[in-house]
Amino acid sequence: MSVEKNWEPKIIAFTCNWCTYTGADLAGLNRMKYPENVHLVRVPCSSRVNPQFILRAFQKGCDGVMVCGCHPGDCHYATGNYFTRRRFMLMKRLLEYNGIDPQRFQARWISGSEAAKFRDTMTQVTAQIRELGPNSKFQEKWYQEGGPENE
C-alpha cells in the first residue's frame, strides 16, 4: 500500500456536550492551538455513542476514532459515563483482538474546565496516528479499489 504523499490523518471524536465539547470551546476561547485533523461530533452524553459507530467510522475511512466524556461521577446525566466506561473497555479489547492498533481507538475523560488537557490529548493522538500511518484495516475503500486482487 503506497502511502499517499500528502496524507493527513483523519480523526473523528464523539464528544459529550456537557464536558468535553465545553472543554473544546474553552480551549478555543483561550486560543489554544492543536492540529486540524480532529473533527468533533457533538452528542448529548458519551453514553449516546453506540460502539457500532466506531466500527462504521473505521469502515468509512477514519484513521483514528475517539470517544470523550465527563469524568465518572461528573456526568450531567448521573450514570451515563459508567455505562460508557464498560462498553468501551470491552469494545477496545475486541478491536485490538481483531488486529486494530490499540492507539487508533482511544477513550478519554475530559471535563469542561480541562481545556489544556483537551489540546494536549488532541495533539498527542494526532501525532500517534500520523506515526501509525493510514489505516487500511476494515476499510471499505480498500475493497473498492480492487481489494483481494491487488494483494
Binding site: 462504521r56 469502515q59 464498560r86 470491552l90 475486541l94 483482538y97 477513550a107 476494515f138 476499510q139 475493497y143
Partner: protein, 287 residues
C-alpha cells in the same frame, strides 16, 4: 458414553414423554429424532403419545432446541423441551431476555455426558441447571480446573499472535462469510424481533457481501451477544463456511471475567447482563 446407562435413559425419556403427552401436561415435546444418517439426529416435534417412541437419546443429539420456543411464544398448552446442560442455559437466556415465559415451558432435564461436538470437551454444566423433571441420574461434572482451563485456551493462544497476523487471520475468515445469518438464527442470545442486519438502515449495516461489511457484521454480532453468550458453540457448528465464531464472542467473555469478576451466562436466571449495569469500582483506563 457407556451405552447401557444411556439406553436406559432413552427408554425412560420415551416413557416419560408418552405419559406427559397422554395426560396433556404438554401440547407437544421437542426432542431429537432419527434421520437418514445414523450419525446425525434432527429436532423432532412429538405431538401424539405414540410419536414419543420416535424420540432418541444418543451421542449424536447435538442440536440446540431451546430457540424453537420463540416461534410459539403464546402456546395454549405447555411446550415440552428436552434440555441438556447447554439447552437449559439457553432457556435461562431467553427467559432472562424476556422473550419467553418460563411457565409456558415444561423442561425435561437430560443429564448429558458429552456429545460428538468439539464444544462438549470443556463443558462446565453437563447437568441441566433448570428443569421440571429429570430423566435418569445426574452425570459427574467436569472438574473445576478442567472446565476453566479449557474455556479460554483457544483465545489465549490466539492473543499471542501479532496484531497484523490477527488481522490477516480474521480478514481471511470474513472473506469466506456469505452472510447467510445461520449463526444469528441458531443463537439463543440473538432474540431480536427484527435483526438490525435485516432492517433498511443505509448508514448502519450495508447489505454488500464484501470483507468490510462482513467484518462489521461479525464484530457487531459478537458485541451484541458478548455479555450474554452461554458458550453453547452452536454458531460455530452451524456455520456453513466454518468460521471460528466462538473465538470471537468468547473474547468478550474472557475480558468480562478479567474486568468484572467471574461471570457465566444462563446459569442463574436472574443475573442481569454486564452491559446492563455498572459498578462504581470498575477499573478506569480512560483517565
Amino acid at each position: 458414553m457407556n451405552d447401557t446407562l444411556e439406553i436406559k435413559r432413552e427408554a425412560q425419556l420415551r416413557e416419560t414423554a408418552r405419559r406427559l403427552l397422554e395426560d396433556g401436561t404438554v401440547g407437544y415435546i421437542i426432542g431429537w429424532g432419527t434421520t437418514r444418517f445414523e450419525d446425525k439426529t434432527a429436532p423432532l416435534f412429538a405431538a401424539k403419545p405414540e410419536e414419543a417412541d420416535r424420540l432418541v437419546w444418543n451421542e449424536y443429539c447435538i442440536n440446540s432446541l431451546a430457540k424453537y420456543s420463540l416461534d410459539d411464544k403464546y402456546p395454549e398448552k405447555k411446550i415440552g423441551i428436552c434440555v441438556r446442560g447447554c439447552d437449559s442455559r439457553a432457556v435461562n437466556r431467553l427467559v432472562n431476555d424476556k422473550q419467553i415465559e418460563r411457565e409456558n415451558l415444561f423442561l425435561i432435564g437430560m443429564p448429558c455426558s458429552g456429545k460428538e461436538n468439539s464444544v462438549c470437551e470443556g463443558c462446565s454444566h453437563k447437568n441441566p441447571v433448570v428443569y421440571d423433571i429429570l430423566i435418569g441420574e445426574p452425570v459427574e461434572e467436569n472438574t473445576e480446573e478442567k472446565a476453566s482451563a479449557e474455556r479460554f485456551r483457544e483465545i489465549e493462544e490466539f492473543e499471542k499472535m501479532s496484531p497484523d497476523e490477527r488481522y490477516e487471520f480474521w480478514a481471511k475468515q470474513y472473506d469466506k462469510c456469505i452472510r447467510c445469518y445461520a449463526c444469528r438464527n441458531i443463537c439463543p442470545a440473538c432474540s431480536c424481533k427484527e435483526c438490525y442486519a435485516d432492517q433498511y438502515m443505509v448508514g448502519w449495516q450495508g447489505k454488500q457481501n464484501n470483507r468490510a461489511e462482513s467484518q462489521v457484521y461479525g464484530l457487531t454480532r459478537a458485541y451484541h451477544v458478548g455479555d450474554r453468550c452461554i458458550e453453547c458453540g452452536e454458531c460455530e457448528r452451524v456455520c456453513p463456511m466454518g468460521l471460528p465464531i466462538m473465538r470471537q464472542t468468547k473474547k468478550m467473555l474472557k475480558d468480562i471475567n478479567d474486568l468484572f469478576g467471574n461471570y457465566e451466562c444462563g446459569v442463574e436466571s436472574e443475573r442481569a447482563p454486564v452491559l446492563g449495569e455498572y459498578d462504581l469500582t470498575d477499573r478506569d483506563e480512560f483517565m
